[in-house]
């Protein structure tokens, strides 16, 4: 009926969505070394019915992803150590179905993106600051295709 990825991600009780929301809560992994951004984005997604998880660097993110496979990775490009793009490529290798959204406030990002493109990865880049409304619609759009696909399987 449902894929493995839908099984019980850990969700704090206060983040449980309102009763009218769909019981299906896509898992989104939010990665940003700026905790103020990571935390607020996670909260925004949680309030909108996603099972959002937070990580502050790439290693942290990989650990979290292995425990709870994400359906969408939303990561800052510039991270300490492994970059957001390297993280995205790694996550894609482990979970090929995982959707990727990158966001960045830096001009140097395009070089990194170009190198990812050379490796055959085409990622969507959001430019900081991203308004929560836009972020939510981008997240929904990224997951839409997947939902339809999952729905087809369920049928």
């Amino acid at each position: 009926m449902v894929g493995k990825h839908r099984t019980s991600p850990v969700v704090p009780i206060e983040e449980v969505p309102p009763a009218d929301a769909s019981p299906y809560r896509p898992v989104v992994l939010v990665v940003d070394d700026e905790s103020a951004i990571a935390d607020t984005v996670t909260e925004i997604l949680s309030r909108s019915g996603y099972a959002a998880m937070t990580a502050y660097d790439a290693n942290d993110a990989l650990e979290t992803a292995l425990l709870t496979p994400p359906e969408l990775l939303l990561t800052d490009v510039v991270l300490p150590g492994m970059s957001g793009i390297e993280l995205a490529i790694t996550i894609k290798r482990i979970f090929p179905d995982c959707k990727i959204l990158l966001f960045s406030g830096q001009a140097t990002t395009l070089d990194l993106l170009a190198s990812a493109k050379n490796e055959g990865h085409q990622f969507t880049l959001l430019t900081k600051p991203v308004h929560p409304d836009e972020l939510l619609s981008r997240v929904a759009a990224s997951l839409k295709h997947r939902e339809a696909h999952a729905g087809a399987i369920a049928d």
């Binding site: 103020a36 607020t40 984005v41 925004i44 001009a107 430019t127 991203v130 929560p132």
Partner: protein, 370 residues
């Protein structure tokens, strides 16, 4: 194989033939063929000799200058310099090389590097001074260009670091205000405040994006519609233009994008427009037309900027040149053209001034399809 070698050998060992009758004639020839202005004057500051280069640099012929006071080429305000030089020369001391300005016959100022030494007669008495002046205009121009390009690079770097420094906290604030608003019941005053705060933050975000987005493009050049760039610029500057009494009339007829560095195009365009503000203090009409055109450089998009100044009957074209080239003034607008010159070179693009009626002028920016 090479027959030149044995032919050359006897030449190089031969005693050089003296083509001049006397060492004096040789010296005179050297002076005449020098690229530096070499002039001499007596102790009263009257010119006694004037070479070809002096003629070229200062615009006066030898005939016009010999016997005349050297003060003719000293710009107003620098007369004291000449008095001090003459005093120093009378004591037999040399004047250390220094940089100064001189006045050309056509009224333009020329930057020169001068060396002045006393001239003695055979008895060792000081009878005047010899001055060597080197024209620094070309070097100055090169220096200026270097400064401009460094400035541009520095601006780009600053923009990039600003992007990171400002965008991250801005992202957090936007998120926090959003969450705060969502946590406040819609009827409350705080909700309305937070809603306005979000609106203002959105303005800040857009402003930063507008400025920095252009620099981001430095890394990769996407295809853009020139009318987008023009329109965006005019939207931002319309209030300022309006305040200056300048009506803007736009026509966008380009249907194909071009590959162009948006940051540099915006800078060039903005510099041209700020030049326009300078020359139309009493207002006027600024017409901007973006259209497809075929020129000698091929097919492309032309941004044609037409100006009609109010209340200034004559020579708008000349004023534009002056304003953009920064001639005679230290205003920043000169920078615009330097960027404007460099920008097309790297893009196969073209900037041109068009002659029109006296109160009209036009500038055309042409970008070919890549």
């Amino acid at each position: 194989m090479f027959h030149a070698e044995p032919d050359l050998a006897p030449d190089s060992t031969a005693t050089p033939e003296m083509p001049f009758d006397s060492p004096g004639a040789l010296l005179a020839a050297i002076v005449e063929s020098s690229d530096d202005a070499i002039v001499s004057k007596d102790l009263n500051g009257r010119v006694t000799s004037w070479n070809d280069a002096a003629c070229r640099i200062f615009g006066y012929t030898a005939k016009e200058m010999i016997g005349q006071p050297i003060l003719r080429i000293i710009p107003p305000g620098l007369e004291a310099e000449e008095t001090a030089i003459l005093e120093r020369i009378r004591t037999g001391a040399k004047v250390e090389p220094y940089e100064t300005r001189r006045l050309r016959k056509d009224g333009r100022i020329v930057e020169v590097w001068v060396t002045i030494s006393p001239v003695k007669d055979s008895a060792g008495r000081i009878i005047g001074a010899a001055k060597i002046a080197r024209d620094l205009s070309e070097r100055k121009r090169m220096e200026q260009r270097l400064i401009w390009s460094e400035k541009l690079a520095a601006q780009g770097q600053m923009a990039a670091s600003m992007a990171h420094e400002i965008n991250s906290p801005l992202e957090s604030i936007i998120n926090l205000v959003y969450l705060a608003r969502r946590s406040t019941p819609p009827g409350e005053k705080a909700h309305a405040y937070l809603l306005s705060a979000e609106g203002e933050l959105d303005r800040v975000a857009q402003l930063i994006r507008r400025v920095l987005g252009r620099y981001r493009e430095l890394a990769g050049q996407p295809q853009v519609y020139l009318h987008d760039l023009v329109d965006e610029f005019l939207t931002v500057h319309r209030p300022k233009l309006h305040a200056c009494g300048i009506a803007v009339d736009c026509r966008y007829e380009d249907r194909r994008p071009v590959r162009v560095n948006g940051a540099e195009f915006a800078l060039t365009f903005s510099n041209v427009v700020s030049g326009v503000l300078h020359i139309m203090p009493q207002g006027g009409i600024l017409g901007v037309e973006v259209r497809e055109r075929t020129t000698a450089r091929g097919e492309g998009i032309e941004v044609a900027i037409r100006m009609r100044a109010k209340g200034m009957g004559d020579n708008l074209q000349g004023r534009i040149f002056e304003s953009l080239l920064g001639k005679g003034s230290q205003s920043g607008t000169g920078e615009g053209l330097s960027v404007a010159w460099e920008w097309p070179e790297r893009h196969g693009a073209e900037i041109a001034f068009k002659s029109c009626a006296d109160s009209d002028a036009a500038i055309s920016l042409f970008v070919p399809f890549a």
